[in-house]
């Protein structure tokens, strides 16, 4: 059934046309196809509890705005951009911080480990028990810890990490979806990756989860 449906639209343009025409079969295909990525992006911003709501709102806005969709990006990228916008609006309403400054203020944790000449001084990186992500995640406590840590990342950091590492988007696409500059995307990735690094390192040293 699904396969047949998917073949009904050879090109994305045809799917878009059908969605504009409020064709239920087209709705079904689009929802099945794009909802998982939309939901996942919404999680990074607003957490599990209200991600569903944000995604539903996003679909409503998307279908309203679709006749004006200029197709300068793929439908999926465009939908994710709407999700990011809905999520940001939601966070603003709840007065949760979104400003880049809050994110750009560096955690001192890493930079304090170099001496005045920029050489490693204190707590030089030590060998970890595992050297693949799968091996690391096979330790249940660390897996739980990483889940919590990733969920607790500042909204834009979590979203950027998700789009880059999990969904494999290019930096240019991420700029488009999140409406931030490329240099800010780079800063966000730098922060997020190092934050994960420090969290794993802490676990390797102590056997306990970082407290964020």
């Amino acid at each position: 059934m699904e396969k047949q449906h998917a073949q009904m639209y050879q090109h994305e343009d045809e799917l878009v046309e059908a969605l504009v025409g409020k064709d239920n079969a087209a709705f079904r295909i689009a929802i099945k196809q794009y909802q998982p990525a939309m939901l996942y992006l919404a999680y990074s911003f607003v957490g599990n509890k209200i991600a569903d709501e944000v995604v539903q709102e996003s679909w409503l806005s998307a279908i309203r705005a679709l006749p004006k969709f200029e197709r300068r990006s793929s439908l999926k990228t465009w939908l994710l951009r709407i999700v990011a916008n809905e999520a940001k609006t939601r966070l603003r309403k709840e007065n949760r911080s979104l400003s880049l400054e809050a994110i750009v203020s560096e955690s001192k944790a890493l930079s304090d480990r170099y001496d005045d000449n920029g050489q490693w001084a204190d707590s030089i990186p030590q060998q970890w028990d595992s050297d693949t992500p799968d091996e690391l995640l096979s330790v249940e406590e660390l897996k739980q810890c990483m889940n919590r840590h990733i969920e607790a990342l500042p909204a834009l950091q979590g979203a950027t990490l998700n789009l880059r590492e999990q969904q494999g988007y290019s930096l240019a696409h991420i700029c488009n979806i999140l409406e931030v500059s490329e240099s800010n995307v780079r800063v966000l990735l730098h922060r997020a990756r190092n934050s994960l690094f420090l969290c794993i390192e802490h676990f390797q040293k102590t056997g306990e989860c970082c407290t964020n």
Partner: protein, 77 residues
């Protein structure tokens, strides 16, 4: 010459390439000579790789999909 601190500043950038050729040479040269940064960079990639291991949520069920479709249909345009 890059310092170890410089390496940590650009390591994440380096993962997203492409940096300039000169930057690449400097970065690679430092890693070649510095076991600590080599380890740091390898672990940073590992940490980033973990974020890539999370699976997307499942496709919505037929019931959920139908409920959303009926909302979309009710919406006035």
């Amino acid at each position: 010459m890059l310092t170890c601190k410089d390496v940590s500043d650009v390591a994440s950038d380096y993962m997203d390439g492409p940096t300039t050729l000169l930057q690449q040479i400097n970065f690679r040269l430092h890693l070649l000579m510095c076991v600590h940064c080599r380890r740091y960079f390898q672990q940073l990639k590992l940490a980033a790789g973990i974020a890539g291991k999370y699976e997307l949520p499942a496709e919505p069920s037929d019931d959920e999909t139908d409920a959303l479709i009926s909302k979309l249909n009710k919406q006035k345009t």
